[in-house]
Amino acid sequence: MLLRRNPLIVLLSLEIMLNGANLALIAFARHLDNGDGQIFALAVMAVAASEVVVGLGLIVALNRKRVPLDVDRLSSLRG
């Protein structure tokens, strides 16, 4: 996630990180025979989906403004 400059790849890497956390949650839920981990994994999934909605919306908005898709060059927040 730190290496790439393309915001799309950054979002994809973020998905991988969240999925790793999900896998750990579910593995320990199974290990401890406790359903809370699965509930939390489902909540993480919902948060990841909303984050993708907002992130992809931002990318599309940037693309419409002809802003280069490069996180190093996105240093200004003015619209």
């Binding site: 996630m1 730190l2 290496l3 790439r4 400059r5 393309n6 799309l8 790849i9 979002l11 994809l12 890497s13 998905e15 991988i16 999925n19 999900n22 896998l23 579910i26 593995a27 839920a29 199974r30 290990h31 401890l32 025979d33 359903g35 809370d36 699965q38 509930i39 939390f40 994994a41 489902l42 909540a43 999934m45 919902a46 948060v47 990841a48 989906a49 909303s50 984050e51 993708v52 909605v53 907002v54 992809l56 919306g57 931002l58 990318i59 599309v60 908005a61 693309n63 419409r64 403004k65 898709l69 619209g79």
Partner: protein
Amino acid sequence: MTVVATVGNVLVWAVWVLAAFACLGSGVAVVSFSNPFYSALALIGNLGSLAVLYLLLSSEFVAAAQVLVYAGAVMVMFLFVIAYVDPRLESPWAGGPGWQAIGAVLAAAALLVEIIVVIGLNADGSLAHSHDVGGTFGSPGYIGRLFLTDHLLAFEITSIVLLVAAIGGVILGSHSRRSEEGVAPL
């Protein structure tokens, strides 16, 4: 009977090893492809193998949700946006390793070592035997009962988060269209 059980165990191990290595390999592929389209396709493979791992951990409902929500909805949206913005190619390892690349790899290695040490110190051999879970563990009914009794607040907050994200997506989309037509932005 024991022969059947042994064959079943070997099968479970084989599927587990296959899914784990597919998961790792596709994860590495996501970050090392230069074309974002291929990265997204590799992420679909990653999510699929994770769903297999969830099934092996007897979490059927989460595996189904993973396939439906991630591999279905989220990745289709990703692929649409990648095709829409037509991103330029980027070679991730061009120009030799920069200080950022070295730092990222070092940080990841440190986190890995830390996780292994913490789990190894705390588990103390109790990782070898896990609880036997009942047949209803991870079924939709089980999850639904937990959601509507112990975790009602988390359930409701999740719905509000999804609603806010939907509204935010709509506003982000309409805002840029309006400013493109020369009308003053919101």
